[in-house]
Symmetry: C2
Amino acid sequence: MKLTKDTKILIIGLGVMGGSYAAALTRAGYRVRCITKIQADIDYATARGMIEYGTTEIDPGLIGGADLIVFAIYPGAFVEWAEKYGHLIRPGTLVTDVTGVKSDIVPRVQALLPCGVEFIAAHPMAGREKSGVEFSDPAVFHGANYIVTPTEKNTEEAIDLCCELGRVLGFYRISILTPAEHDRMIAFLSQLTHCIAVSLMNAESAGGLEKYTGDSFRDLTRIAKINDEMWSELFLRNRDALLSEMDAFEKEFHALRDMIANGEREKIREKMRRATAKRTLFDKPVI
Amino acid sequence: MKLTKDTKILIIGLGVMGGSYAAALTRAGYRVRCITKIQADIDYATARGMIEYGTTEIDPGLIGGADLIVFAIYPGAFVEWAEKYGHLIRPGTLVTDVTGVKSDIVPRVQALLPCGVEFIAAHPMAGREKSGVEFSDPAVFHGANYIVTPTEKNTEEAIDLCCELGRVLGFYRISILTPAEHDRMIAFLSQLTHCIAVSLMNAESAGGLEKYTGDSFRDLTRIAKINDEMWSELFLRNRDALLSEMDAFEKEFHALRDMIANGEREKIREKMRRATAKRTLFDKPVI
């Protein structure tokens, strides 16, 4: 299968991510249909020309007629969907997703889908703090990372097509990682940072400090505004990897705490110099 | 004493902060002179019209002739200067500073300066990641906070003049706090966040993750690029307040860790909702 302008694309779930996929693909000249729960979201997307057609029904004709299905729903809902309606997908169809955790999801979905239906997982790393189709914006893909996470069940052809989808969507860098590598990376770069921001925000006991805050505190806590339904699910579905990163951070933080308590200035400076050097690697590339 | 265009202002230390003060005050029509260690910094500032005159000498005439002296050097260096050269300051002169910690510094400097010389402490909360006069920019004061931290030794007149200086420099909000209140606030909003960023950066053990990073990780670790000489001094001079904030954060973080380990989803969601609500208070005001 190749991605062409005739490929019938079906998006399941028209939230902020499904909506951004729909808008990017429609703009690139592809035909996009969707199934989602709320009629108002379909009306919104249709009125703006983001989709060709949408329904709130589990329409067997629409599902069976799709060449490429993108699941843009929460991880648990995705597994449930595959269990209940997976049999409606025609052999030869390629299935992909946008799920933020992989080891807990990919093998289960691969086992649930009918013979001949290939599921190739992907994670578009372009989050937004807001949810809902009205916050869709394909511009968030520019400069962002798109990770394809194949297992030994996947074909080269499906991996290539999934990478091609990332390019069409406008991602800056397309990478391939195993589900386990992905989950470790996401535990450190994304989940741990959200745990830190939430804890820092909750640690403010005095009250009234917002009057004095500067940009660095704002930057550090921006992600403390968090979709609790989605993130609590992502944390728990990546529990082992996340706990391992949380423990490593706690150890570093506590070591610094003890250096401060003991007045060990040279050791503190060494930690700071090391952090400064490492952070330089993470500077934004000039695109 | 009133701040007028005839007030003879002397800045001690022409780094990024002293340079920004000099540029803002000169632009506002005040006469600014300076004493600093490196002749090249004076040449830089003179060539750009930031100062009227500068010297690397401890010039008794220049010091004795000043009406307002601003110390823009590291805290320890400031105390040392007051000890060695404080006697050169003429009674009636007002002294202020830019130091980021207060309880450890203010009473000591007040005790060291000659009778008749009033020291009124202030903290311009407009940090930059870069140091050196060539990174001076008075624009960083716009939208930023300026905190005056008087003790019972200070007069109303000096407090008023110090607030007036903050307005002339272009600060957005001028506040008055006791040194202890200031130090607790700065421990939470600034020092703790730097400890977190440094520890997070150092906790990355795998290597190579910069390829996958997104903006939220970059925002959270921007301040991990840190001037180790200055910040190690600030941490240790505010040790008790900082340790208390570090311990409170550690407790919150560990509680979240245990909820994740125990799969307590409702408790995790409650923490997230609380953080989201609190963070809203810290949104940047529209200026």
